[in-house]
Symmetry: C2
């Protein structure tokens, strides 16, 4: 498999250099780490919002650093958690004295290392709170995970909690908003092809030419069902059906949706999925307040997509529509 | 090859439906056409900026419709020019009485059909001007093209000319700015894999597991050289070297760069390319004023990238930094 990389051992380091070179006015790298923080941070008087996890999911999380979203993010090696030391460096660098909210995707490594980092930071007097995102409705436990996995719904947490922090809310309030998104969001994904990690250089799992995997994880972890290839409408109905069954929303509920590309799928196909998704929501008497389509949380070069639905009230709508200015997401 | 589509014959129609469903506040589809226009258009008192071309290059062009960029765009079938009738409907729908600038990528079908549409529109009294983008430095003539091909530099034309039109400039001035970008921009791309069109369902061209194609076109047209796979630094040096040789810039010149993904390449790899690109520019004593990294003009699911360099003066910097609000590009 061919990739635009040099030595696979250097890929995360070189990616981070390339990100800072693209956004020198927005991003700063903490020396001798894989941690990126706001160039203008820490922001006085503001609760800091931080996240992190394995690399290979770009623009997650570094792409969401900036005004109205994250103050910083730690990048692990490909599909590997950052160390507790890196998470601690992240928290320390972002704290402006108002406290720090850590947004953690539910993978055992991330949770364990973030927890250790939080303990260490608290011993140094930093006020830290944590939320754990577990929006993947596909499977209850999986490779690397106890409980449900944290996937693309995380970006809505970054956006809403980031906007709340930008308003000057205190740590409890920022945490409350983050948890409110988590309590109201569900996601399910599918893979048409496996991803290929730079290190291994060949597919992480085998998928036949006429097979797809439903409920796939963002590291290629097994899903719920391996099935024959279906058309986009049928796949969309499966994914949306599972998410809506889990959320169990009342008729008339307003929602935000995300059709998220896994890295190797053309935008054309994501819009084809969005077309059917909006029909399915209308069939369920749900009202789409906003529909996001794009690559928000990828899995290297995997072909496929995920569907996210999040119920929103007036508070979440205001926060999701608030201005943001980051490499990957700008809202005017 | 597996794709998130239904009937291949419906893919453009369903994509356009999915785009409007995602952006009902921004985009409107002209009935019985594949033309998208600004939902709030035509904008009184403003020169209209329009473009179009074959589908499969998303977010080009529909993703750039909105405040500060395009007023509308015609989408052809996959890799096929829109008809003259569709281009004419586009021009008519966008004209607010101040004239229309058509931004045409240099492919024979696009040029011929846009020219016919312009003649028809002018007969109905619409003032239309045209610029032809031919930024691909790789080959002089190619499949579908006399002269150089128009590729990713087109997005800088949309941005700068769109900002000029938004300022209230007249048609001559908007055209002058568009041409100024064209006169100062160069691009070259590479393919690591072939794209697969929905209709054909298999690779457009054969490329061995250890081969890449340099100078590739965005429809898989032949490039300048088929060579053994190289690492990202070597590929970047090749692409940037050809572009810089063509532009022949003076030391100290400020530039905007784009590392553009072809559709199937993870963002991680694009940043690895950007890292080396910025080093190469520094070696040439060029000053990067802004560096764009992302998927701006794709070729379905092709893995690979293109490198664009555009020399900028104060006027172009102001226009490129001006606010824009479109599905694919927002500038605060």
């Amino acid at each position: 498999m061919k990739k635009l990389i040099n030595d696979p051992d250097d890929v995360v380091d070189e990616m981070l250099e390339g990100m800072v070179a693209a956004h020198p006015d927005r991003l700063r790298r903490l020396p001798d780490t894989q941690v990126l923080v706001r160039e203008d941070g820490p922001v006085e008087g503001k609760v800091a919002l931080v996240s992190g996890g394995g690399s290979g999911h770009e623009p997650t999380h570094g792409g969401y650093i900036g005004d109205g979203m994250l103050d910083g993010a730690a990048a692990g090696d490909v599909f590997s958690s950052p160390t507790a030391d890196e998470f601690e460096a992240l928290i320390d660098a972002c704290d402006a004295g108002e406290g720090v909210l850590a947004v953690v995707k539910n993978y055992e490594g991330d949770v364990m290392n973030f927890d250790t980092a939080i303990e260490l930071a608290e011993m140094e007097g930093v006020d830290v709170a944590e939320v754990v995102v577990d929006d993947d409705v596909a499977v209850e436990d999986s490779l690397y995970t106890s409980g449900r996995r944290g996937v693309c719904g995380t970006i809505l947490v970054h956006k809403a909690a980031g906007a709340k922090a930008a308003e000057g809310a205190d740590l409890d309030e920022v945490q409350r908003v983050a948890q409110k998104v988590i309590d109201n969001v569900g996601t399910m994904g599918t893979a048409l092809t496996s991803c290929v990690t730079p290190e291994k250089g060949e597919p992480t799992f085998d998928l036949g030419d006429d097979e797809i995997e439903l409920g796939i994880g963002i590291h290629g972890e097994p899903g719920t069902e391996r099935t024959e290839t279906m058309d986009a409408d049928a796949i969309t109905e499966e994914l949306a059906g599972e998410v809506l069954a889990d959320l169990d929303l009342e008729a008339g509920q307003e929602v935000v949706t995300i059709v998220n590309g896994m890295g190797g799928t053309p935008e054309m196909e994501l819009f084809v999925v969005n077309r059917r998704l909006q029909e399915v929501l209308a069939d369920h008497d749900l009202e789409t307040w906003d529909a996001w389509v794009g690559e928000y949380m990828t899995s290297l070069d995997m072909a496929g997509c995920s569907v996210t639905v999040c119920a929103v009230d007036d508070e979440l709508k205001d926060l999701l529509a608030a201005p943001a200015d980051t490499p990957a997401l700008t809202v005017r």
